[in-house]
Each structure stands twice: as C-alpha cells, then as structure tokens.
C-alpha cells in the first residue's frame, strides 16, 4: 500500500469555471487540497470519486485505472471512502445501520475495520441512536467512521469540519489527528483553513482558478516565497521535530529539529515524542546581534531569499537554520535599516511557536 500512487489528470469546463489539473499525489499520508472557495478543490475531489465526470481525464490509483479515455469506473465500484462537508447520515437508519450500510456492500471490509473505526472515533455509545438526535460533531464522527468501515484504499474528505462551529471543530480535531497517526491510508483532504492544513497535512496541493499552482511536501511548499499562497496572517512554516527534554522548573519543553532546538510551553509530551512545530512568519524577527530580550529563542540563521508579501510595506524573508527553513515577516524599512541581504547571517528571534501533535 505504501507504494500506492495517484495520478490524476482532469479537464472539465462549465460556464464560468474550468478545471485543468495534472497531478501525481503520494500514496500515503494526508494530502491537502488547499484553496479559496471556487478554486476547484471540491470539484477535483468529486472527479476523483467519480461523482463528477470530467470529459477529459485519466485517474490511476495504485496501478488501477479508474478513469481513462476507454474506461470509466462508476463511484460505487471505486474502493474509496468519502466524507462530505455535512455529515449526510441516512436519517431513516440508526447510527449502527448507517455504519453497516457500506460494510455490507464492500468486499474488502471486515468486522474488525468497523470496530476499529468505532473505537478510533469514539462513537461506541452512539450506535443505537437516531442520527437526527446527534450533535453536529457526533454526526460528522459517525460519517467518518462510516467511510472508514468499508476499508477504503483512498479516503476523500471534503472540508469535513467546515460546517461545524469552533467548539465542534475542537471536538473532532483529536480524532482526525489520531486517524492521521494510526491509519496507513492515503487521505485527500479538501480545506481552506490554514489551521487544518498545518495540523493535518503532509503534502500540499494549492488550487487557484481550477488549476494546481503548487504541489509538494508541506514544509517545503509552505516555505516557498514565490507562491501567492492565501495564508495571509497565517503565513509560516512547519517543522518536524522531537521533544528533546522537559524543564519541570519552568514548565518548558525543548524541541529539537534538524539544525537547532527551541523552547516551547510544556504540554506534557514525553521526551522522544514526535511533534510538529508551527512557526508563523509574523512571530519571527531578525537582529544584528544576540540581545538580552524576553524572546528566549534566539539562534543564528542565514538569509536564503527575500520575497514580496501581501502588503507593499512588508516582505517575507527566508532563513536557514541548519537544514531547517523559517519565514520571517519584516517591514521593508527594517530590511533596509538592518541591511538584510541574501547570504548574510542574523540572529533569528522566535517569539512563539505552537506544538501541533
């Protein structure tokens, strides 16, 4: 399964919208299809599911042809799971019967896949309930379990959190992160939320006007300066790291990454735990010397590139710390005053970081 690869090429034209993509996606981990609404990410997902039929297209999943010029596999014959934006549970069936609906019709699935899904999403106590009586968050958890119960070879999720309020999102997030950690199943995840993107994705496809304008490893793609990425205030990078040590006196944890380490609030994670650290560009600043400052995370870094930002007064600066890349959002005046230039070394000050896992 780890060699599974997805080749997706679709061309489709509707009045006022055209989809034109040619992508190779990894066969493992979570691939985020990211973009503003109307960018074609949901249409792309529906084409992959066979819910939409692009007149020109080719789709190969793990060596199996799902669509080509000669061939078209209808949705119900594709070994996939699909989670819609609204939970879309069958209201005439109980939670249990909803979960069994796909299970009974799928050759690949087994009782154990259902039991695993029920356990993973913590819905064991809801089985006899009527879907109409569940909360929005519970409904979406059941819908995710229902999609997992058929043991799909590919899981497609269309903004599964978008219809939920903040509280419900927080309720579901841990389950999605568990899914990400524990299941060896490739996931295509449509989202327009930078938060979901940075917490869940391993691989990123940025969609704009029906085209994929960038695709690649999440950390690399986020640190690119040439992308008009719609992250805005949330522009920043993620760093894969491990907890190196815990300082119980100050309630801090040392996070080690390739090329350095930083201190973050201790969240009770044991040393050795893999974490994902999110560093926003607006929280990174540069100084000519190491200074006595309330900002404790300071380390030397080399300027790699300087690019335009969303505002004419601002610039995004890419800094290397060992093998790790950070983005810093600076004013252009600061760049001129400090004489920031490519190849020079500065002290990088990181005001705050977020541990995501």
């Amino acid at each position: 399964m780890s060699d599974l690869e997805i080749q997706a090429r679709f061309q489709l034209a509707w009045p006022g919208f055209a989809l034109d993509v040619d992508l190779e996606l990894p066969g493992r981990g979570v691939t985020a299809l990211f973009g503003v609404s109307g960018s074609g990410k949901t249409t792309l997902l529906r084409c992959i599911a066979g819910l939409e039929r692009a007149p020109q297209g080719r789709l190969v999943v793990d060596g199996d042809i799902w669509q080509s010029d000669q061939q078209w596999l209808p949705t119900h014959k594709r070994p996939l799971g699909y989670v819609f934006q609204e939970a879309s549970l069958f209201s005439h069936l109980s939670v249990q019967d909803n979960l069994h609906y796909g299970l009974r019709r799928s050759r690949r699935s087994s009782r154990s896949s259902l039991d695993q899904a029920i356990e993973l999403l913590g819905i064991g106590h809801l089985l006899t309930r009527n879907p109409d009586l569940l909360s929005g968050g519970e409904r979406q958890r059941v819908a995710i379990a229902r999609a997992l119960a058929v043991s799909p070879r590919l899981l497609l999720m269309d903004e599964p959190l978008a219809a939920l309020d903040l509280q419900r999102k927080r309720e579901i997030f841990p389950y999605l992160e568990r899914l990400h950690r524990e299941l060896d199943m490739p996931v295509l995840y449509v989202t327009h939320s930078p938060e979901e993107l940075t917490r869940l994705a391993d691989y990123l496809v940025v969609m704009e006007n029906g085209r994929a304008i960038a695709s690649g490893n999440l950390a690399e793609t986020l640190s690119r300066l040439d992308l008009p990425i719609q992250l805005g205030e949330d522009a920043g990078v993620i760093i894969e790291a491990t907890i190196g040590a815990v300082d119980n006196e100050w309630h801090l944890a040392r996070v080690d990454f390739a090329g350095g380490s930083l201190w973050a609030k201790d969240q009770g994670l044991a040393p050795g735990t893999s974490v994902r650290v999110r560093v926003l560009a607006r929280d990174v600043s540069l100084a000519a010397q190491q200074t006595a400052s309330s900002i404790q995370n300071q380390m030397p870094g080399q300027i790699d590139a300087i690019g335009e930002d969303e505002h004419p007064g601002l610039a995004l600066v890419r800094v290397h710390i060992g093998d790790t890349i950070l983005l810093a959002r600076l004013t252009k005046r600061a760049i001129a005053t400090l004489d920031v230039g490519v190849g020079k070394t500065f002290w990088v000050q990181i005001k705050s970081v977020a541990l995501l896992q």
Partner: protein, 226 residues
C-alpha cells in the same frame, strides 16, 4: 340501510381504486423518479402530459379513451390482435381509464418527495458501494416514504371519486362498471333521495377520513434532513 346493489357498487369501487393504486405505484414511481432527476428538455412536455387530467374535463379524457378502445382505435386493435374482448364497457377498461385519470395524483407527490431528497443521499450511497438501483430501493424509497403514503391515498381517493370518465368508458353495468358515484347518480335520477343520502354519506365520511389522515400525518411527521 344500504341495499345489496349499494354494497356491490361500493365493493366494486374499492376494488377498482385498489387495483389502480397498485398499478400506478408501479408505473408512476419510475415516471416520478425520472421527472425528479432528469435535466433533459423532455421533462417539460412529459410533466405537462402527466398533469393533463388535472385540468381536462373527465368527459374529454373519457371520449378519447373510448375512441382508443373502439374497434379502430389503437387499444381496440391491440386487444383484437391479442384476441381478447374489447375493453370498452368492462371493468378492465375502467381500470385503464382510471390509471390515466389518476396518474398526476400518484406522480406529483412522488416527484416532490424525490426532489426533496436531493442528490446527496444517493451520492453518499454510491460512495458506500451501492449501485444506483440498490440506492434507489434502500435510500430513495425509504426517505420518500411519506410521499408514497400521500400519493397512494390521493390516488385511491381520487379513483373512488371518479364519475365522468366512468360514465363515458364504463357505462352503468351492475357489478361490472357501476361504481358508488354512478349508483348515487341513478338514485337521484330516480328521485330516490333517501337511498342517495345513505350512500353519499358513506363517501363523504370516507373522503373526510382520507384527508384527515393526510393532513394529520403531515402535521405530526418529524422534519427529516439528510
């Protein structure tokens, strides 16, 4: 009290309405499904044809059907080719005419119910490995259940209330085509008002109960979303 003739007429009416409702469930469901989901331009003309009996005087419909069932009409020639007796002035002729006459009462509530379900539950079913036919029976039909109940009750009741078409097609043959509404007409013609009253009351109560069932059912049915 009701005479044997009245009971015979009532039984005939019920039998006719039940058979017509059954046949229309079989014919009307696919038509309603198609009308609810197609994007083809035929939807307009077909929808209009289905709705015709709502506005057409029953005598007009009956007249055309009578011609069709006659020796030179298409139905008449078909029955002759199949070597069966002509349908005009028979019970099965009445059934055929009533199927046309009550068609919109079956199709329209079903079409509305199917449209209300929308595309989503069927897409969900497809992603859960259900073929379109499977999804129709296990998702669309159960979700449209209130529509099926309403459509069946309306079709049954409307067939019971038929009069003009029956006179044109069926005539007035006791035990064969003389339904309750025609029986009442006969009583009134013969100035037998007391007998007419009894039978009319039966139909009045029946109609009220039917409508009560539909409206009360509508009121207390929980709102369901998918």
């Amino acid at each position: 009290m009701l005479t044997d003739g009245d009971l015979q007429a009532l039984w005939l009416t019920v039998r006719l309405a039940a058979i017509v409702t059954f046949i229309l469930l079989l014919i009307g469901t696919p038509i309603a499904w198609w009308l609810a989901r197609t994007k083809c331009w035929w939807k307009g003309p077909i929808g209009a044809i289905v709705a015709l009996p709502l506005v057409l005087p029953p005598s007009v419909l009956g007249f055309y059907l009578l011609l069709a069932m006659g020796p030179s009409g298409p139905v008449g020639q078909l029955t002759e080719a199949l070597n069966i007796a002509p349908l005009a002035f028979t019970f099965w002729g009445l059934v055929l005419a009533s199927v046309f006459y009550s068609l919109p009462f079956m199709v329209q509530p079903l079409q509305t119910a199917f449209e209300a379900i929308g595309e989503r539950p069927l897409e969900v079913a497809a992603t859960l490995r259900a073929s379109p036919l499977d999804a129709f029976f296990t998702v669309a039909v159960p979700l449209a259940k209130p529509g099926f109940i309403t459509a069946s009750i309306l079709t049954f009741a409307h067939t019971v209330g038929e009069f003009g078409v029956v006179l044109m097609i069926g005539g007035n043959i006791p035990g064969v085509t003389r339904v309750a509404s025609v029986q009442i007409y006969d009583y009134v013609e013969a100035l037998n008002y007391s007998q007419a009253h009894r039978l009319a009351l039966v139909l009045l109560v029946f109609s009220f109960v039917v409508l009560l069932a539909i409206y009360a059912g509508r009121r207390f049915r929980p709102v369901r979303g998918v």
